[in-house]
Amino acid sequence: MGLPGVKEFVRPETLDQALELLRQHGERAWLIGGGIDLVLFVPEDAQVVVDLGRLPLCYVQEKAGGFVIGATTPLREVLEDRSLEGYMAGVVPQMLHQVASPLLRNLATMGGTLVSANPWSDVITLFLALGAQVVLSDGKAQMIPLEKLYPARAHRGTILTEVHLPAPAAGSAAGFWKFGRTAFDVALLNAACLVRMAGGRCVEARLVLGGRPGLGTRVPLAEKALVGSDLGDATIDRAAEVARESADVRDDRRASGDWRRELVRVGVKKVLHEARGRLPGGER
């Protein structure tokens, strides 16, 4: 059977009830959104499974130009949200179309995806580039940048309730790219960027590489090569080369580090060109 070690399955209706269960059961409690990673990895200490699915955290809302996504929203709902299509030229649904399968997207939740921190996560790579923030609650709600969520164990005892995507700043655009072995696959490497231009110059660049096989992280040297530039072809090539040289990529059973390093250059070029093409004024 799936998980013989599980003794109890509880479904709190409110955040307070959920937090009380966490306090009550401590290390024996295991929070789930969809529960996919629980069933796949069967952590030994998961004896009381706390299903957050009944909490009123299933929503995608516009807020002051940005978006707020509730933690128990299935990825499918995020994918199909009409208003999110208009955010950053639709980069979020563009990414989600490449994540897993419709079956998994119907079950996986936004909160679960962010907390599970599968290192190949396309959601995390893109959301780090977009400058997402998450709300954690232990009774008191606190908003922190997404990168501060990791390692997730550090926040044990809290519940992630929302992820916030910031309002797009003027002159900004984003791109996303993923490379897998077949279409239904995790990323051997993924890349995302957000660039902001002002007066014809790049004033902000966030470049994230994930599936390295490590979790999405920024590539500061490559970002530096972009800031202050005109984001021309030569700059993009150079940034891609810098990323290729400086990226932390390694072997795993899916791909070699050397191969990933080659893909870094391709991926970085692709996302930067894609973002540039989305800037007001279009492809130069």
């Binding site: 059977m1 799936g2 998980l3 013989p4 070690g5 599980v6 003794k7 109890e8 399955f9 479904r11 789930i32 969809g34 529960g35 996919i36 629980l38 069933v39 796949l40 499974v49 299903d51 699915g53 299935p74 499918r76 179309h97 897993a100 399968s101 419709p102 079956l103 998994l104 119907n106 079950l107 279409a183 239904f184």
Partner: protein, 157 residues
């Protein structure tokens, strides 16, 4: 734990182990049309509709289905008449060994319910989580389009 859910329209109460999956529960209760191919969400043979949405039942803890509606392949043909998807799969030669078929049909049902006029790319994506080793997908993709047309006709006819 005791859970109550509607399976194929009938309310049922089951005794389930808290760590049991929906796939295990359903097969144990006789819904053997729900197949196990991998137990890990990779193949889609275990697909059922949970509250109208196609999911890998091998990844759903049984407790999550408490209070929900579950549709398995056994519930698809109303009073003996085959669903247009079932008819189309048969007519188009899209059934070979039939092991992936129930899951594939239910995934297609989810797709067509929410996207009644899908493009070829949308159909491919709609069943991208359902692996088939016999057919090469060619006739399955066609069968889904044929069924979609029939279903649109029935809706507007």
């Amino acid at each position: 734990m005791r859970i109550t859910l509607a399976v194929n329209g009938t309310r049922c109460t089951f005794d389930a182990h808290p760590g049991e999956t929906l796939l295990e529960l359903l097969r144990r209760e006789g819904y053997v049309g729900v197949k196990k191919g991998c137990g890990a969400g990779d193949c889609g043979a275990c697909t059922v509709l949970l509250d109208g949405r196609a999911v890998n039942s091998c990844l759903v803890l049984a407790g999550k289905a408490d209070g929900s509606d579950v549709l398995t392949i056994e519930g698809l043909s109303q009073g003996g008449a085959l669903h247009p998807l079932q008819e189309a799969f048969l007519d188009e030669g899209a059934v070979q060994c039939g092991y992936c078929t129930p899951g594939m049909i239910l995934a297609a049902l989810d797709l067509l319910t929410h996207h009644p006029d899908p493009s070829e790319e949308e159909v491919r994506e709609g069943i991208s989580g359902n692996l088939c080793r016999c057919t090469g997908y060619t006739k399955e993709l066609r069968a889904i389009q044929v069924a979609a047309a029939k279903m649109r006709e029935a809706r507007h006819g």
